[in-house]
Point group: C2
Chain length 339, copies 2
């Protein structure tokens, strides 16, 4: 087993000093051609690669990005990670992924672990528990230490940092409008409690659309689940208790499941019931019938987040200007709506 070779090893072997080796490998003008060639050949032979850790310690730059997200099984987050990876890798950064699993405590622990020198900055989306508690001290501490943070999707106004979101209100509005255009009047909404920033915004869009079309809002047609977790029973009961000719859901799982319940009731999709969800994932594409959705452009969000973060990381100046990028959602029309 040939363990990693260091500058020191090369120096000893070639009977020169460490700094000579270091300079030779950097092709410094100071060093004679002879020595340079000798050193470089030796280094190549033994496959010398500088130790990242030592360089990190020296430069106070790790070239690592910490990503803290609530969940990795939801399609949206995986696409965001992919976007982050893509951009970060191209810039020579690695991505450390930590899952909060919607838990406040895990979010805090993960951040503390990473904040002690492991990463140059954070990209994160808040756990539902954090949004429910409305406690952002862990974020405050990190930003006060001068570690750049980019929040995406599930954000808060309590923290001054860069942010990337889609216009969820517009998403809710577009979807609801689409349903109304198809002649639907009794549009159900399956969402979560309002503490989740995205659900709140989507619900607002839904209300706005109804209002604009002079359709009376019927609160009984709104089901608020405690989290994004699937709860088949409550959804079934909900549909048993109301009249509806369309359903808007804040994710694709709720939507696909709603389609199943509707089909089981003998309803035709989209004639009797039209359905729209959020997140343009595999589920929507391959569901039967395929599902019309509000696309959130996760990969794009990831790329932009990474770009904003790396810019902050690499800019020396300590500017305190933060921006919020708002992406526009788009409607991907499939067979769960007419046309």
């Amino acid at each position: 087993m040939k363990s990693k070779i260091t500058l020191k090893d090369i120096a000893r072997e070639l009977e020169v000093s460490i700094s000579t080796v270091s300079k030779a490998l950097k092709n410094s003008e100071e060093i004679s051609r002879d020595t340079k060639e000798k050193v470089q050949a030796f280094a190549r032979l033994y496959n010398y690669k500088p130790n990242n850790i030592a360089i990190s310690l020296k430069n106070k730059r790790t070239k690592n990005i910490g990503v803290v997200i609530p969940d990795i099984v939801h399609h949206f987050f995986t696409t965001v990670i992919r976007g982050i990876e893509k951009y970060a890798n191209a810039k020579g950064y690695n991505v450390i992924v930590c899952l909060s699993e919607e838990s406040f405590d895990k979010e805090v622990i993960n951040m503390e672990m990473l904040a002690n020198g492991s990463i140059d900055g954070f990209i994160m989306s808040l756990s539902s528990e954090t949004q429910a508690k409305n406690d952002y001290n862990h974020l405050k501490e990190v930003t006060e230490q001068g570690i750049p943070v980019v929040l995406f999707d599930r954000i808060t106004n309590e923290i001054d940092c860069d942010k990337v979101i889609i216009d969820d209100r517009m998403g809710g509005y577009l979807a609801t409008k689409k349903l109304i255009e198809q002649g639907k009047q009794k549009i159900a909404l399956i969402t979560t409690d309002d503490y989740l920033s995205v659900s709140k915004a989507r619900g607002d869009g839904y209300r706005k659309a109804l209002l604009d079309s002079n359709i009376e809002l019927d609160e009984s047609r709104i089901l608020k689940l405690p989290t994004m977790e699937m709860d088949e029973e409550r959804i079934r009961n909900f549909f048993d208790s109301i009249e509806f000719d369309a359903v808007l859901c804040v994710n694709e799982i709720f939507a696909v499941f709603s389609m199943r319940v509707a089909l089981e009731k003998g309803l035709k999709i989209p004639k009797d019931v039209a359905v729209i969800g959020f997140t343009n994932g595999l589920l929507s594409k391959y569901a039967n019938p395929s599902l019309t959705v509000v696309a959130q452009h996760g990969e794009k969000m990831g790329e932009i987040s990474a770009q904003m973060l790396i810019e902050k990381v690499e800019s020396e100046k300590e500017e305190e200007t933060f921006q919020t990028k708002i992406l526009e959602p788009t409607l991907v029309v499939r067979d769960s709506t007419i046309n």
Copy 2:
């Protein structure tokens, strides 16, 4: 902005030496109660946390695990990541995720980046290009350097290291048997070229099951796609060209799409056509009809991989004994098969 505080800062402030501070914070017996209390109070006040990078350099241990996988959007890999995260986090390790995106070059680059001190070990699943090229020098180099590697799912016998797989052959066998039991005789198989280790094994199981039941193998009923990428047209053409009463697919996407094609042809599922896929993901659960699958237990695989890796990382002795853990697949029966 209060930047991170170091031992040196504390020492200067309290007018003691750095080593005294270090010992005091470790509650060393050598230090007087007085000093210890003073130092500890000060450290707590300024929220001192040791710098991970410095500790890594000293200990030659990063407490980071590198995970290199082909893809993150496939449900199977996300569940594996979750399993790895779970176990690794509990042990105080962070997870650095790199995507090869099925590319040999990216796999090599990612590994090289991480191998220079960033991680204590690798958990990986080979990219399809790597398996196609059959070139594992990047893995050899890493293992020769003494960096532990655990391969999961897509593995190779060319490399001596710990491995975790499910018995894909048995999975293919179980699924095919199930279809045969339901009276199916013309069982189509949608898979990929044989260089993908898992596809090959699943195909072998399929053949074995047919053989055991004295059903003649008809090669025209086997579609081999070049990769795990969806190719709607080829699948459609395939179904147009053969007679079939059942379909086995090596992933859930192929399977769900096959169901759609069958439905479009006016066939009833599972009466006219029964369908089974691999991977017990959201897609299978929420498809209409819901899909019977061979579950791969990704989360379990992730946990076991992490466990094996960390054990190797933390064991001083340089044992050259490697094991291969083989998990048993299980059939999750849903509505795409009878009963």
